[in-house]
Symmetry: none
Subunit: 208 residues, 2 copies
DNA sequence: ACCCCCTCCCCCAAAAAGGGGATTTTGATT
DNA sequence: AATCAAAATCCCCTTTTTGGGGGAGGGGGT
């Protein structure tokens, strides 16, 4: 019997990525998806699934609340929280709200399947801590400051250092520093890769 | 009497976007949707609709063939082709295969409704040419060549002109030309914006 | 007191942008 | 087979923008 999975994420790209990965798996049945909390709750009025992959950051309702609401409507359903690097602080709160596991959004298929099967069988999947403490510096990688994210967004808009400096009322040297820090923190070597990385990891695009 | 609409697109995000737009319209009845040609044809074995919104690019069968097959099974059904910018070359072929209209995937609701109602009433909706020829160069915008897309992908990977040249066994001048053409065709002013545009319009990254 | 963030500056090399122009290859149409 | 348009290839020039390596001071929070 296939594991019924539901996806909640406000980023179409994430839904697309996950669902295309899961479609290749015969043991998974994609029951549906939602891009906001309301339509997710709407789904659970009439239906239920085995596992929900749920983004922590949602536009209308935080994943933390939604998690509790879904568990209230369908206690058998297992919830796996999804997030990007920069939202790790909320993971513990998801656990308190009834989630059974946690995954980064860019998790490879093998681990995704393992996690789904584990929580579906009643297990937990909270191994993210190991991953990050293992590398010590990886934690740094995730932590983009407010200003850095802001600059990153403007870089992706196609603005040059001077233009960004102009917009933020700072010197172009400052913007240059931020740019260099971004490149260094995200382990990329130029702006193109920076923008791509930012997009794929939804560092920009989510809460601009 | 509501216009029965069916959606065919391999991107869940597109289906979700379109259906959520159409759900708000009382004059539309969403009859169903499919993410591939096979399940679309399956639907038409037993049922029929007034209008099909059909992606040009499908995984198992090209929209061009599917278009003809659907028209064969249900001649009264009107088909509107859907695509992104970079697939305009196929639009004429859709017309030849029996489609009644064409829309970009990110078309606003008002125009979407107008198009559906027009083709349902027996009319045609091919005004994309006006939009693009209005700006003369806009037609160019959509037409990225194979090589340009290839270079764009490598640029987004973070490679420099020299590295790309090395990989493609051409001179860096050539890659530079492609880069300039991309910037010019897509109406952006630097690489960062180029990468962003490419991502948002799924010229790259559509199959992560 | 300390660390991190934000701010700003230096130098220099590398890469990209903006403007030209040119030739060969390829594909489709007579 | 000849032709033509489009694509792909290559080169010149200059200016602007990034990238890589530093260092350094002020302010806020723990």
């Amino acid at each position: 019997m296939a594991i019924r999975v539901f996806i909640v994420d406000d980023h179409p790209m994430v839904i697309e990525g996950l669902s295309s990965m899961l479609r290749s798996q015969t043991s998974i049945e994609l029951a549906g998806f939602a891009t906001n909390a309301a339509s997710c709750l709407g789904f659970f009025v009439t239906q239920s699934v085995d596992v929900v992959l749920m983004d922590i950051n949602l536009p209308d309702n935080s994943g933390i609340e939604l998690c509790a609401l879904v568990k209230a409507k369908s206690p058998i359903t297992k919830i796996i929280a999804l997030s990007n690097f920069d939202q790790l602080s909320y993971v513990e709160r998801m656990k308190e709200s009834g989630a059974s596991g946690y995954l980064l959004k860019n998790t490879p298929l093998a681990e995704l399947m393992e996690a789904i099967e584990t929580v579906n069988a009643g297990g937990a999947w909270w191994n993210y801590l190991e991953k990050f403490t293992n590398q010590m510096e990886a934690k740094q990688v995730m932590m983009l400051t407010r200003r850095e994210k802001e600059v990153l967004g403007l870089i992706a808009d196609g603005l040059t250092n001077v233009e960004i400096a102009d917009k933020l009322f700072v010197s172009s040297s400052t913007v240059d520093s931020h740019r260099k820090n971004l490149i260094s923190k995200l382990h990329v070597k130029n702006t193109a890769a920076l923008v791509r990385f930012a997009f794929e990891n939804k560092i920009i695009g989510s809460h601009i």
